[in-house]
């Protein structure tokens, strides 16, 4: 019995979660705007993008890693490490003083990701425990590089990053990165291989896929995206701080999963992650705009996240 090839059904089958989660995001935004007239102002929306940017980068990286069936808890530490390194290496006098700093930050990202990827693939260790250990290593190195917060940032670089192109520079970078990551994960052969690892690693291996290399690249890509977040924070904070990244790993995992990425691997879409990131960010923004008490914010946060996560359950039970 061959069923007619029904493309519409397949679209829904593959993208229903992404659609649902964007709907959730939209409902959330509408509810907030009902209670706060400052929500849909250009200023607030720009701020949202600015605040979401680093989490977005880390979460997109985390999504790639999750697709392989892995996890990277060290991304936050990589954010910190690249942030302090970037500040330390910046020459604020020279007009091109930011170039070596940027290059170094990206290189550090590659090295950190490479270390994670190598230990995980060649050492055949569980990603969660490897990255738990490398987290403390990277945090230690960050503290070593900059024992107390400070440093100064190249002002031209900073101006451009935050205010460039009418203040739309971060938005443009976000869109480009999202499209790139989505292309990698959904349209490239590499993306297929990434997912096939998450689906069934042994099967992927017997199909001839270079499992170790695919993994290594995934961790490097994720770390480079984390480095991007670190660089961006350098500009936004106009300084470095060895503790700036510590919440990003967990928030990134939450965002990815809220956005429909399966922690077991293979399933997920970077677009969904975008929605997840904005849900996480808007919860904070909304609690501030609504003036919620500091203590209750934890309850709202947890509650809304669990509600968003229940969406996939409702979908699955059909």
């Amino acid at each position: 019995m061959i069923k007619k090839n029904d493309n519409k059904m397949h679209f829904w089958q593959r993208n229903s979660h992404t659609v649902l989660i964007f709907a959730f995001l939209a409902v959330l935004m509408i509810i907030v705007s009902l209670f706060s007239d400052s929500f849909f102002t250009e200023r607030n929306l720009k701020n949202l993008v600015l605040s979401a940017f680093p989490l977005l980068m880390v979460a997109l990286g985390q999504t790639l890693v999750l697709l392989t069936g892995g996890i990277d808890l060290s991304l936050g530490a990589i954010v910190s490490l690249t942030n302090v390194s970037c500040v330390t290496l910046m020459n604020t006098e020279s007009s091109v003083g930011w170039i070596p700093a940027l290059a170094a930050a990206v290189l550090i990202g590659v090295l950190c990701g490479g270390l994670n990827g190598l230990i995980i693939s060649k050492g055949r260790l569980a990603p969660i425990i490897v990255t738990l250990a490398t987290t403390t290593i990277f945090e230690g190195i960050a503290l070593f590089v900059m024992s107390s917060p400070g440093g100064r940032v190249h002002s031209g670089f900073r101006q451009f990053f935050i205010r460039g192109i009418n203040g739309y520079f971060p938005l443009i970078v976000s869109i480009v990165v999202v499209l790139l990551v989505r292309m990698i994960s959904n349209q490239s052969a590499y993306g297929r291989h990434l997912r096939s690892l998450g689906g069934n690693e042994t099967a992927a291996y017997s199909t001839g896929i270079k499992v170790d290399r695919v993994k290594l690249i995934a961790y490097i890509l994720a770390a480079v995206l984390a480095a991007l977040a670190g660089i961006y924070l350098t500009a936004r904070m106009n300084s470095g701080d060895a503790t700036v990244g510590k919440n990003y790993s967990m928030n990134a995992i939450t965002s990815s999963v809220v956005g429909g990425t399966a922690m077991t691997g293979a399933i997920g879409d970077p677009l969904g992650t975008v929605a997840g990131v904005f849900i996480v960010t808007i919860i904070n923004n909304m609690l501030n705009l609504l003036g919620a008490s500091s203590f209750y914010q934890f309850i709202y946060q947890g509650g809304i996240l669990i509600a968003a996560l229940s969406l996939s359950a409702l979908r699955r039970q059909k």
Binding site: R192, R195, S196, G199, N200, A203, T207, I209
Partner: protein, 474 residues
């Protein structure tokens, strides 16, 4: 052709060829040339492609994505070209006569269709040497026929095929030469012409067997041990199913892939919910909404997919065999370990399971021996109703015979024995009556005298149904 008992080393030697295992000694020569194969990649370069006994598809990818995994057509940006991918898939399907929905997720396919996908995946790689490790164990007869046609085409094109099967008729149907392995050693290689089943069996086990199916000594009596009335599921997969199983009979279920046979068994076993319908065991009303409830009420299912449903692959043979019947061997609240070891040893002996020892992980066993562990686990429950879904998948001739004898013994002891099999010869050979399903309904219940491959197929394809007697339907 490669033949041999379970655990003879067939899969192992071929996995060496495919680059999954490494040989410690010995050479591989392909077309007279010595090749070094240490990874699946090298094996592919050497023109070897293998369909593994245990499927290697990625559930979360679609049929076409799986078929072209690692050989994706790319456009000029280096991205996967979906259009070409679809075209190539459809072209390949047409060429090999295997038609599946290219865009469906593999996880939604029944085992047989997964198997066909796997075969297609190997064929599109255009290999010179194609290794098929028990490709037919999950296939029904028409699919097997289709596969044979493909194989014949390929051999006529000069490709070499290595084929493993425990269904001897298949060996003779398409093989040219057969190599028999036993305990990891080469017994002999012979042309199949001039060899008969008996001869092959002798090569495999060193003695002859009295036929493939055991003789029935018991005629079923009229006492009903298990009844199903009007079973209907909400998803429409089952529609008003009714039947009785009599004491001493083996009751068969047959039908084409996807017509609800597995659904019927899982529903009875409490793994799927049903809407309406009643069941009773030896006159007592029976209902189970979970598998553990079904098992405690004496209904056991031997599932079709041993890898995902049957076994905890990383656990030992002992833990696997004992897991369902733990409560039968307790000392207070603790497990009686000596009793457990004794029980597992008995199971190993009874089913002649070949395992290094009872504490080795079950994934180190050969496919057929794994299947026996699943059987042993369920037999330990002494169930009142036992449901077999493709129970002899991958089991060698000798073990099959032993298993059939066991089945008859169970039936004789008053257990309701129900078996779903896509191997029609097996259905005809073993069952006293067979229920044929079509689109979730009972299209007919045939008795032993009515059973032929042809009639079963007619009912299975919906051409005949119980109101239009099989004989004169056209």
């Amino acid at each position: 052709m490669l033949a041999g008992e379970n655990g003879a080393g067939k899969s192992t030697i071929l996995k060496i060829l495919a680059g999954i295992y490494h040989a410690d000694a010995g050479d591989i020569n392909i077309r007279g040339e010595k090749r070094k194969i240490t990874s699946p990649e090298q094996s592919q370069h050497a023109g070897v492609a293998m369909v593994f006994q245990e499927l290697t598809l990625i559930d979360e990818l679609t049929v076409e994505e799986n078929i072209f995994l690692h050989t994706e057509p790319r456009n000029r940006f280096g991205l996967v070209d979906r259009k070409v991918l679809r075209q190539n898939t459809l072209a390949a399907m047409d060429r090999f006569g295997i038609h599946l929905d290219p865009g469906i997720l593999v996880s939604r396919l029944p085992v047989a269709l997964k198997q066909m996908t796997e075969i297609l995946k190997v064929l599109v790689r255009e290999p010179e040497i194609i290794i098929l490790d028990e490709p037919t164990s999950a296939l029904a007869s028409q699919e097997v026929q289709r596969l044979f046609t493909i194989i014949e085409n390929l051999t006529s094109l000069g490709k070499s095929i290595v084929f493993i099967s425990h269904r001897l008729e298949e060996v003779f149907a398409i093989g040219h030469r057969v190599t028999v392995l036993k305990d990891g050693k080469n017994v002999d290689t012979q042309p199949l012409q001039g060899l008969d089943e008996g001869g092959l069996i002798r090569m495999m086990i060193g003695r002859s067997l009295e036929g493939t199916y055991p003789a029935k000594t018991l005629t079923p009596n009229t006492e009903t041990v298990f009844t199903v009335r009007g079973l209907t599921s909400s998803d429409g997969r089952l529609n008003n199913i009714s039947f009785d199983v009599k004491r001493g009979e083996v009751f068969g279920i047959a039908g084409l892939q996807g017509h609800g046979q597995s659904d019927l068994l899982t529903t009875i076993a409490g793994l799927k919910a049903y809407n309406t319908g009643e069941m009773s065991i030896q006159g007592e009303p029976y209902h189970a909404s979970h598998a553990d409830e079904a098992i405690s009420k004496g209904v056991a299912l031997v599932p079709s997919d041993r890898k995902s449903q049957g076994l905890m692959l990383d656990l030992s043979v002992r833990h696997n065999a004992a897991i369902s019947s733990l409560s039968k061997r307790l000392k207070g609240i603790f497990i009686d370990l000596p009793a457990e070891k004794q029980f597992v040893q008995q199971t190993i002996d009874m089913l002649s399971i070949k395992a290094p020892n009872m504490d080795s992980p079950v994934h180190t066993l050969s496919g057929g021996n794994q299947q026996k562990v699943v059987l042993g686990k369920m037999l330990a429950l002494h169930p009142k109703v036992i449901l077999f879904d493709e129970p002899t998948r991958g089991i060698d001739v000798e073990s099959k015979l032993e298993f059939y004898q066991l089945m008859l013994q169970l039936a004789a002891d008053g257990v309701a024995v129900i078996m779903n099999s896509s191997d029609l010869m097996e259905v005809i050979g073993m069952c006293d009556r067979v229920l044929v399903m079509y689109e979730g309904r009972v299209s007919g219940i045939l008795t032993k005298d009515e059973m032929t491959e042809e009639t079963i197929m007619r009912f299975a394809m919906g051409v005949a149904s119980q109101d239009t007697p099989a004989g004169n339907a056209s």
